[in-house]
Amino acid sequence: MAILARRFGPENLALAEDVVQDALLKAMQTWPFTGVPDNPSAWILQTARNRAIDHLRRSRQWQSKEPMAAGVVEDGLVSALRALTPRFEDEIQDSQLRLMFVCCHPGLPADAQVALTLKVLGGFGEREIAAAFLAHESAIAKRLVRARQFLREEKISTELPRPDELAPRLAAVHQALYLMFNEGYKASQGSSLLREDLCAEAIRLGELVASFFDQSHASHALLALMYFNAARLPARTDPTGNILLLLEQDRASWDRTKISRGLAHLTASAGSPQVNRFHLEAGIAACHALAPNAAATDWEQILDLYDQLLRVDPSPVAAVNRAVAVAKVRGAAAGLQALATMADRQAVEAYSPLHVVSGQLWLDHGQPAKAVRSFRRAWELATLEVEREHLARRIAAAEKACELSP
């Protein structure tokens, strides 16, 4: 889609999306009888491109009063598209980088920039974007419509913005990659907990950004954070896809190469005049990745990093995670206290992990009945089948604890 959007201009982004949708539909109608082609993405792109040419050819014939001139324009367009094929890989990388920065146009509200990037580069549906923002699907749909309208009306250029325009957009690009990774780290829908393809894609795009902005400390910090977390992906589910908690994971299956990539980027991210949330989150992820076993985890260090994180970015999601660290350092009661007094708790009431954490803390605090209630709430809010199965087991364990305690 990035390639098509660049070729037709972002004001035709809707067209690019339409033809990609069409091509996907065509694939779903054709592949059942032919099997998946050797190069599925090239197939989709070629089909989408043919559709786009058809469409432009038609609309130009209808609109133009001078068919001769239209013919010339169309020939130019067609040959431009054909010429694209040999430079496939380069073009893809380049146009993805461009498009990320086009989507993050400062004329758009920050959330719209990120939503558009997720949609265009991550292939996110409205539901997945809504999950990333803890927002409603309809709100996201409106946001996207307005964003597209803006690009169309302002005839935003698809050329890479001037160097002095790039830096202000970098933050939104980072945020979009962070959320793309996050959706892969724990999917909001579908049959499996992880979507490794999204994690890999976010890392790949992150590398692209970091190699272009080599001096950007935040870009390196984001990459470090993604590498550390990606290193643990293979250990997060058992062979049948069930969720494994940090305590239960086989640390030997953590990816050492990714951990060392993470360390390299963490080093490159140092020396920044200001510490941002990616630095702190990468630090937290590093604490986990480098602990030889669960018992040796430096929770004091982690809590310290969470305290700093909340000062830089007072997000209620971070506060939920901080409560775990509080409990590890000062006990379950303190953890529960942290959950009870956190700021902006309202925003995460419908966020399943809040109730998972609270359930575990109640259990550790010797109040299994309250734990059951929290786990049930988490179960209701969970969107994945694997999550529900996992929570059902924890509900059962907490119920058993209820029977045992007087």
Binding site: M28, Q29, T30, W31, P32, F33, T34, G35, V36
Partner: protein, 121 residues
């Protein structure tokens, strides 16, 4: 003695036109299963070929100039979605293969026909 040559069978996939469409999630699921099914047939070496058939079509029933109907089987309200050719030992085996089609149960009907190989002289 040479081994008897395997017969090829034509699998024709018909979808009723007025059946309610499955939801996108369901569609995704069927599609995934269908891809697995195809992969399995290719791995076993029984898949010979196939393709989608476009929805456009004409039905010719009368001598030239009398009657040509638009649309594929417009009367019977079903669409020939595509075809696959497989190799099998017998019609029964071919039917078993066809029973693996994930579209079954969602309105798809598979017609299995042996392709008779007569000597071309």
């Amino acid at each position: 003695m040479t081994k008897p040559e395997k017969t090829q069978y034509l699998l024709l996939f018909r979808h009723p036109q007025n059946e309610a469409e499955p939801s996108p999630e369901e569609m995704q699921k069927i599609f995934g299963k269908w891809m697995d099914w195809m992969k399995g047939m290719k791995a076993q070496g029984i898949y010979v070929g196939g393709d989608r058939l476009d929805d456009a079509g004409k039905v010719v029933k009368e001598p030239r100039g009398v009657s040509v109907t638009d649309g594929p089987y417009a009367e019977s309200k079903e669409i020939l979605g595509g075809y696959i050719v497989v190799e099998a030992d017998s019609l029964d085996r071919a039917a078993v293969i066809a029973q693996g089609c994930p579209g079954l149960g969602y309105g798809t009907v598979v017609e299995v026909r042996p392709i008779e190989k007569l000597p071309h002289i």
